[in-house]
Amino acid sequence: MGKTMSFQHKELASGRWAQMSLCEQMANIGSEVSRAFNWRKKNKDDLSKEAINRALELLDLTVDSQSRYSRLKECLRVKECLIDYFYGDNVFSSSEILWRKYFDAFVYATRKA
């Protein structure tokens, strides 16, 4: 593996992501997770995997942008549970409903609609 990283979200990875609030970051990550669920329902696993990989990329950017242990712990748990759900055996017994509820809260907090 090379030392340089290749990001799909090039502009965000170049520093803009770190300027967003944690709520904004999690809301955007939730959008990709939502897409992963949508494609999974349509049995389009390749598109579902692409979406979850974008979510994981953004989660890594979030981890890089956080320094507080409590936030890091939260983000890394989210990552582990997402990988467990989409790539593993779902040993944590998460569900689409739970994930949507979790991420929608960040959207509401961000949009304050």
């Binding site: 965000l12 609030s21 959008s31 897409r35 692409e50 974008r54 929608d104 949009r111």
Partner: protein, 139 residues
Amino acid sequence: MAMVFRIQEKVKIPCYTGIIIILGKTMKILDSIITIDELKEIANNTFGSLIKAVVDVEKKLIAIDAELHSDLEALLIENNSEQKNLWGINLYPDIEDEDFLEFDSMINIRPSQGNKSRGVDSPEIQKEILDIVNKWVKR
């Protein structure tokens, strides 16, 4: 086919911390019809399979090609669109059936307008969006 875009070179967006961010140069508000091949080229330069877009159902406009829907939303608002008329979608140029267009964006969550999901809950608005996409995208 020549592609004529009105390119927004720089966009200033106030964020919560008060910092003004200058965004990239790729966002566009379409002012001429775009082909599937052109969409594929744009997709290849970003996410590979999808292009994020925001539709103004009042002005019948589409802004495309950003890493976040909220950037396109800001671009349109700066160009005199109203937020209540803006809906986030994704276009998948490699898909030929109805899955070409996906109604899914965090900017769509607007309880004040009765839209409580990332999708577009109103079938009427979905139809409007589809008509606008069909107007701008040559498939």
